[in-house]
């Protein structure tokens, strides 16, 4: 569990982060969302003490971060950033093994861990282990960057706009990968992004920052349905609200028994996919892939998200 307790950062007269408190449960993803200059990156960097807080405390599983030397603290916390920051003069394996090496793991253990992570990120170890970052595509570099951050099985993974430099298609894939891997490993992740879409897609909890203050912290559905301030509403985007809410709900939640015509939806589709398919093909009910015949109707979708305002 990560507890952020009244943490503040002042630079001269300006307050970059103003008395922010929040708690992140173990095994969850928290997305910190805000515009440039909202203090979201400063907040993240205070967790691993790349920035020293002016006031307040961060506790990781009950231990205050101020009780540990900064460079030792950081070895226990994964760190992945925009533009990956890989070491250009080290091979993929050495990049991923950097923190385990700092922690004094044996070479055999490091090698096994590197191969395990490459497998996890769908990169064949034999093919990629000895390559250098400059030989990789942007998406591969980014995956190696995240793999490196996860290498020592850290208590916490901090990510600062990790997908910011990727094109939209690769980014969507990277987000799916992260979600899958996070579920498989049970990692606790704090992720900074300016992209509400990304936050909704990935996070269990969203924290919205505005001018150094935490203005709202809650599950994505709450942030979308009941934004606490006009700023949060603006971040969500009024016109996109229903679609964003739909994207959070799996079709299985409102699927009814019985068959329907036409090509079926996959079982892991969201209501947003269902609505899109209804509109595009002009159908009012769609079959859903599953053990027994099931379908989802346009009326059910409308009933599920409608009734606001």
């Amino acid at each position: 569990m990560i507890e952020i307790d009244g943490i503040t950062k002042r630079y001269g007269d300006t307050t970059a982060v103003d008395a922010v408190s929040m708690t992140a449960q173990t095994g969850t993803i928290t997305a910190i969302v805000g515009t440039s200059g909202s203090g979201k990156t400063t907040l993240l960097r205070m967790i691993n003490r790349l920035v020293e807080p002016s006031k307040g405390e961060v506790r990781i599983n009950g231990t205050p971060t101020s009780a540990i030397k900064p460079h030792l603290l950081r070895r226990r916390i994964g760190y992945a950033i925009q533009g990956h920051g890989l070491f250009p003069h080290h091979s993929v394996a050495r990049n991923i093994g950097a923190v385990p090496q700092l922690l004094g793991w044996s070479p055999d253990k490091i090698r096994a861990r590197v191969d395990e992570l490459l497998d996890l990120f769908s990169m064949a170890p034999d093919e990629f282990r000895d390559r250098y970052p400059s030989d990789l595509s942007g998406g591969q570099q980014q995956r190696v960057g995240v793999a490196r951050a996860l290498a020592s099985r850290p208590d916490l993974l901090l990510m600062d706009e990790p997908f910011g430099a990727l094109d939209p298609i690769i980014r969507a894939r990277a987000q799916d990968d992260l979600r899958r891997i996070q579920r498989a490993l049970g990692s606790t992740i704090m992720l900074v992004t300016h992209d509400m879409e990304e936050a909704i897609r990935l996070a269990d909890r969203i924290a919205v920052m505005d001018a150094g203050k935490l203005v709202q912290h809650g599950p994505p559905a709450d942030i979308i349905a009941t934004p606490a301030t006009p700023f949060v509403a603006e971040m969500v985007g009024e016109a996109d609200r229903p679609l964003r809410l739909l994207s959070l709900i799996p079709v299985t939640e409102i699927a009814e028994d019985g068959a329907a015509d036409g090509p079926p939806l996959p079982a892991d589709a969201t209501l947003r996919d269902a609505l899109s398919a209804c509109l595009w093909t002009g159908r009012s009910a769609l079959p859903v892939v599953g053990a027994s015949p099931a379908h989802v109707t346009l009326d059910a979708i409308r009933a599920r998200v409608g009734g606001h305002g």
Partner: protein
Amino acid sequence: MKAATLLRAGLVVLLLTLVLRPELATPLLAPLAPPDGPVIYERASLLSLSLSHLGLVALSSLAATAVAVTLAVLVTRPFGAAFRPLARTVTNLGQTFPPVAVLALAVPVMGFGAGPTLVALFLYGLLPIFENAMAGLTALPPATLDAARGMGFSRWRQLRRVEIPLALPVILAGVRLSVVIALGTATIGSTVAARTLGEVIIAGLLTSNTAYVVQGGLVVGLFAVLIHDALVQLERRLTRR
């Protein structure tokens, strides 16, 4: 590639001949010597002059590299940033002060011999290494440094494992420049009785014997070209990654 290897081998053979068997060059240099004058310098063996010349250059370049790189590392740390202009001024001064003037000033203090030459070469060699090391250490990719610190590298480890290796190509280019300058400049050391290849050139100038001048100049020039080439090869090898 093949042509370069052949040329390189040819130059090495020429240099070895001039240093080990200078008498073989007699037919080549005879037309340049005064009538009935000596063609080949014989007051000292060219081998021992070459070794002493190279020794002076190696010693002064090593010292200059150690001092300049250390200085560049210190002033690129947060605590040393305030000393950056001072370090620049000092190394610039070393380059501005002509080596001949340094020799002249150092002789009264250190006496004749190798000492003043070492000091002059050392001071003259600082600037290229310092400026290149500064350029290399300040132009590192910020994301890589941020990642290294965020992963828990201590400052010392980050310097040793990340900053120095990444800046190495640029630092080595500065060392190479400095070594080549020192090879040429060392010849004037012979004006204050340091044993260098300049002795041959100066003897030629004093006796109007062009053969001596060409002999000495050719050996120094060949050393400079070949050492420059060797250092370029070394840089390539060290920085392939």
